[in-house]
C-alpha cells in the first residue's frame, strides 16, 4: 500500500525522504508502522470489526423488543447462556445494551471517524510528511487495540459483560451483587476504558501538535479545511474532558475492590446483605462521568460535521457557505460543551438551581449549532449538485443533524426533561446524533477517501443502494423512538409487557425492529462493497472527485512521506467554481492569478 522509506524522515517532518531501506519487512511496513496513513487504516479496520460486533448486539436488542415472547432456537444454539431455551435472559439483555452503547461510541465511531480519519487526513491536509510524534502515534493504536480486545474479553468472564449501562452509575456498577455484570465484567470494562483514554490522549496530543506546528508554508489557520479545524478542536476538547473519567474510574475500581466509599453511601442493603460503606455519593460519579460524557459527544460530532463540510463542496462545485462563522461556531460549541453536563442530571437529585443554570447554558449551545447547520444548508444554494455516493451521505448528515438537533430542544431544558428523561425520547435523540450524523459522516468519509487510501474505486451503484438501505430505515427507527418516549416508554427495559400504559407501543416496537433488521442487513452490502473494492476496485486517479485539499495533489495512495517536497500553499481550501487548467477548481497549491 505504501512504498517503504526511512522512518527518521517522517519523524523530523522536514527532511526529504531517503531511498527505501533494504530490510524493512512486512511487519515494519504494515503492522508496526509509524506512518500515519497505515495507523489510520489500522484504526479504521479495527473500528469496522467492532462495528460488526456492535451491530450484532443491536440486532439482539431489537429481536427482544420486537418479539418479546418469541423463542429464537437458532440463536439459543449460538448463545446458549444468553438465550436458554431460545428466550433471552434479562441479565444477557442488560449486558447487550451496555456493550452495544460502549462499543458503538468508543470502539466504532471514535476509532473509525475520530482516530482513523483523524490520523489519515490531518497530516495530509496540513501538508506534512507525518504526525508530529509518529512513534507515539503507533503506540496509541496498539493501546487502542488492547483496549478493544479487553472490552471484548469482558463477555467471557463470570457474570458476563458489564450490565449497568454505558453510563455505569454506581451503586449498580459498584456492588457485584446488584447485577451479574457488576462482577468481573464491570472491572474489565473500567480497565478497557483506562486503556482507551490513554490511547486517545496520545492521539489527541498528536493531532493538536501537528496542526499547530507542522503546517506547510502558506497554510495559515484560516486556510485550513473545516475537517482539520474540527479534528483540531475535537482533540483539544477530548484531552481536557477525559481525565475526570479516569479519576472516576480509579475511584470506582477502589470502591469495587478495596472497600472505599467514594460513590457508596451508608445504609445500603443489597441482596439481603447490609454493606459497610459510609458517606459516598452516587451523584459524584454522575458529575464526573458527564463532565466527560457530554464533551465526548461533541468530540464525535465535530469531526462528522467537519468531514461533511469538506465532502459537500466537491459535489456542489462551489465553496462552503460561511467558512469563518463555521470556524467560530466550532470553537463556541467546544467551549460551551464543557459547561453543560448537568443537563443529563436534571432529575438526579442535584439542586434545582443547578437545573436552571444548566438549562440556560444548554440553550446557548443552540445558537452556534444552528448557525453551523444553516451554513451547511446554505452551501447547497446555487450549487451544481452531483449526487455521487459521498454526497448522498453528506446530505444525510445535514438532514439528521437538523432533526436530531430539534430533539435536543426538548431535552435541554429541565421542565420537559422531567417527563422525557430516561425514556426512548433520549434514545431516539442520541441515536440520531451519534448513530445518524456521525455514522453517515463516517460512511461518507469512507466512500470519499477510499480512492485516496487504497488507490481503487468503490462501486457507485452499491454505494447508492447502501445509502437508501441506511437512511430510510435509520430515520424511521429513531424518529419513531422520539414518540415512544412521549408515550412514556422508559429506557433499558427488557420488555414493555408489564405495563398497561405501554401496551400500545407493541406495534411501534415491531415496526422499529423490522426497520432495524433492514438497516443492519443493508450494512452487509457496504462490507461486501468495501472488501471487494479493496482487491478488485477500478484503479483510482490522483483526484477522482476534483477536490481542492492537499491530499488530492499526491498519488492514490500517497507514498510514504506523502509529499516529495513540502507543498507551498497559496489558497484556502474551497477554490471551487473558478476556471483553471485543472478544471472548475484550484488545488490549494495552485498559484494565484498574477496581479494587474
Amino acid at each position: 500500500m505504501t512504498s517503504p522509506a526511512h522512518v527518521e524522515a517522517s519523524r523530523s517532518g522536514r527532511v526529504a525522504p531517503r531511498g527505501p531501506e533494504p530490510h524493512q519487512g512486512f511487519l515494519r511496513r504494515y503492522i508496526f508502522s509509524t506512518d500515519h496513513k497505515i495507523i489510520g487504516i489500522q484504526y479504521i479496520f479495527t473500528g469496522l470489526v467492532m462495528a460488526i460486533v456492535g451491530a450484532s448486539l443491536a440486532a439482539l436488542i431489537r429481536l427482544q423488543l420486537g418479539w418479546p415472547e418469541h423463542q429464537w432456537v437458532l440463536l439459543s444454539r449460538l448463545l446458549p447462556r444468553g438465550l436458554p431455551g431460545g428466550v433471552m435472559t434479562p441479565e444477557f439483555y442488560l449486558a447487550v445494551v451496555t456493550m452495544h452503547g460502549t462499543i458503538m461510541v468508543f470502539f466504532f465511531i471514535s476509532y473509525v471517524l475520530v482516530s482513523g480519519f483523524g490520523n489519515y487526513l490531518v497530516p495530509l491536509q496540513v501538508g506534512a510528511k507525518d504526525m508530529a510524534f509518529p512513534v507515539l502515534n503507533m503506540l496509541s493504536y496498539w493501546v487502542a487495540l488492547a483496549s478493544a480486545l479487553t472490552m471484548l474479553a469482558s463477555f467471557f468472564v463470570e457474570g458476563g459483560a458489564a450490565a449497568a449501562g454505558w453510563t455505569a452509575y454506581p451503586p449498580l456498577s459498584a456492588v457485584p451483587a446488584a447485577v451479574p455484570g457488576s462482577q468481573m465484567g464491570q472491572t474489565i470494562w473500567l480497565l478497557s476504558m483506562a486503556l482507551f483514554i490513554a490511547s486517545f490522549t496520545m492521539g489527541g496530543l498528536n493531532i493538536v501538535a501537528t496542526v499547530f506546528s507542522v503546517r506547510a508554508p502558506g497554510l495559515s489557520m484560516m486556510r485550513l479545511p473545516l475537517t482539520v479545524w474540527s479534528y483540531f478542536i475535537a482533540a483539544i476538547v477530548g484531552l481536557l474532558a477525559f481525565p475526570p473519567l479516569t479519576a472516576a474510574a480509579v475511584m470506582l475500581l477502589l470502591d469495587r475492590h478495596f472497600g472505599t466509599s467514594f460513590f457508596l453511601p451508608a445504609g445500603l442493603v443489597v441482596a439481603n446483605k447490609a454493606l459497610p460503606n459510609t458517606g459516598g455519593s452516587p451523584l459524584l460519579w454522575q458529575h464526573l462521568f458527564w463532565f466527560l460524557g457530554h464533551p465526548e459527544v461533541y468530540v464525535l460530532i465535530l469531526p462528522a460535521l467537519g468531514v461533511a463540510c469538506d465532502i459537500l463542496p466537491a459535489f456542489t462545485r462551489k465553496p462552503v457557505f460561511g467558512y469563518r462563522s463555521s470556524v467560530w461556531c466550532l470553537v463556541a460549541v467546544a467551549c460551551l460543551s464543557m459547561i453543560v453536563w448537568g443537563h443529563h442530571m436534571f432529575v438526579s437529585g442535584m439542586s434545582p438551581f443547578s437545573g436552571e443554570y444548566f438549562s440556560l447554558v444548554t440553550l446557548a449551545i443552540t445558537v452556534p449549532m444552528t448557525m453551523f447547520g444553516v451554513n451547511m444548508l446554505a452551501s447547497l444554494w446555487g450549487a451544481k449538485l452531483q449526487l455521487h455516493t459521498p454526497a448522498l451521505f453528506a446530505l444525510g448528515v445535514i438532514a439528521l443533524f437538523g432533526s436530531g438537533g430539534l430533539g435536543g430542544l426538548f431535552l435541554g431544558n429541565a421542565t420537559a426533561d422531567m417527563q422525557l428523561h430516561d425514556t426512548y425520547f433520549v434514545v431516539g435523540h442520541f441515536h440520531m446524533m451519534i448513530g445518524g450524523v456521525t455514522m453517515l459522516a463516517t460512511f461518507g468519509a469512507l466512500y470519499f477517501w477510499f480512492p485516496k487510501m487504497f488507490g481503487r474505486r468503490m462501486s457507485e451503484a452499491a454505494g447508492k443502494l447502501h445509502f437508501w438501505l441506511t437512511f430510510a430505515p435509520f430515520f424511521t427507527i429513531f424518529f419513531m423512538q422520539h414518540f415512544l418516549g412521549l408515550e412514556g416508554a422508559p429506557r433499558r427495559y427488557y420488555a414493555f409487557t408489564a405495563y398497561d400504559y405501554l401496551q400500545r407501543t407493541r406495534g411501534q416496537n415491531l415496526v422499529i425492529s423490522v426497520a432495524a433488521l433492514v438497516l443492519i442487513g443493508g450494512q452487509l452490502l457496504f462490507l461486501a462493497n468495501f472488501i471487494w473494492s479493496l482487491f478488485r476496485g477500478r484503479a483510482a486517479t490522483e483526484n477522482p472527485w476534483g477536490a481542492t485539499t492537499l491530499e488530492w495533489t499526491v498519488a492514490s495512495p500517497p507514498p510514504h512521506g506523502n509529499f516529495e517536497t513540502i507543498p507551498l500553499v497559496r489558497r484556502w481550501a474551497y477554490e471551487y467554481g473558478i476556471q483553471t487548467p485543472q478544471g472548475d477548481f484550484a488545488p490549494q497549491t495552485w498559484a494565484p492569478p498574477q496581479a494587474g
Binding site: R14, A132, L205, P217
Partner: protein, 205 residues
C-alpha cells in the same frame, strides 16, 4: 507557528525552503514542548477532578481532618532538594561544567527516589495508625491523591534518569541535552507544583 519556514517575499517558485539541521532541531523542540504542555494540561485536569471530588466530600458531616505523619514534610523537602539539584545541573550545563552537571543530575535522581521511598514509608505509617485505604473518606482521598501523584512521578523519574544518563554525552551535543533538560525540568517542577497543591488540599481543616 512555522517560524523557520516563512516563505520569503514574492515566493512564486514551487520549491519550498529546505531546512538546515539547526532549524529542524529548533522546530522539533517546539513540537516536543507543545506536546509536553498539552500532556501536563491533561494531568492538571486529572488532579482538578480528584480535587473537586475531595472538596465536595469534605463538606460531608462525617469528615474528620486527617493527621499527616511528619515524614510527609521531610518528603516535601527531599522533593524540593531534588528540584534544586535539577536546577543546579541546568546551570552547570549552561556553563559547560559537564562533570558538575552530571553529579547534580545523579543527586536529583537519588533524591527523587528518596521521595518515592519516603512516600511508601508514609503510607505504611498511615496504615499502621489505622488510616488504611478504606478506613475513612479522608484516608481514601489521601491515598488516591498521593498515589496518583506518585505514579506520575515514577514516569517523570524515568525521564529524569534518562536525561541524567545523557549528561555523559552532553559534551558532544549541548543543544540536544539542553532540549532534553527543558522537557525534564518542566515535567519535574510541574509535578513538584502538583505535590504542593495536593499537600495544601490535605492540610485543609
Amino acid at each position: 507557528m512555522n517560524l523557520a519556514l516563512l516563505p520569503s517575499a514574492g515566493a512564486a517558485t514551487d520549491a519550498p525552503p529546505r531546512l538546515d539541521p539547526r532549524r529542524a532541531a529548533l522546530v522539533r523542540q517546539q513540537q516536543v514542548r507543545l506536546g509536553l504542555w498539552m500532556f501536563l494540561a491533561t494531568v492538571a485536569m486529572l488532579f482538578a477532578a480528584f480535587a473537586s471530588a475531595y472538596l465536595v466530600r469534605r463538606s460531608g458531616s462525617d469528615w474528620h481532618p486527617l493527621a499527616l505523619p511528619r515524614l510527609v514534610w521531610v518528603n516535601t523537602l527531599v522533593l524540593a532538594a531534588s528540584s534544586s539539584a535539577l536546577e543546579a545541573a541546568h546551570r552547570a550545563g549552561r556553563a559547560r561544567r559537564w562533570t558538575g552537571a552530571r553529579a547534580a543530575m545523579i543527586a536529583a535522581v537519588a533524591l527523587g527516589l528518596g521521595f518515592l521511598a519516603g512516600q511508601l514509608a508514609a503510607w505504611r505509617l498511615m496504615t499502621v495508625r489505622g488510616a488504611s485505604l478504606a478506613a475513612s473518606p479522608q484516608s481514601s482521598f489521601f491515598y488516591v491523591l498521593t498515589g496518583a501523584h506518585a505514579l506520575h512521578l515514577v514516569t517523570a523519574l524515568a525521564v529524569l534518569a534518562w536525561t541524567a544518563a545523557a549528561a555523559g554525552s552532553a559534551r558532544r551535543d549541548p543543544h540536544g541535552w539542553s532540549a532534553q533538560m527543558s522537557v525534564c525540568r518542566t515535567f519535574w517542577h510541574f509535578l513538584g507544583g502538583v505535590w504542593l497543591f495536593v499537600l495544601a488540599l490535605l492540610l485543609l481543616s
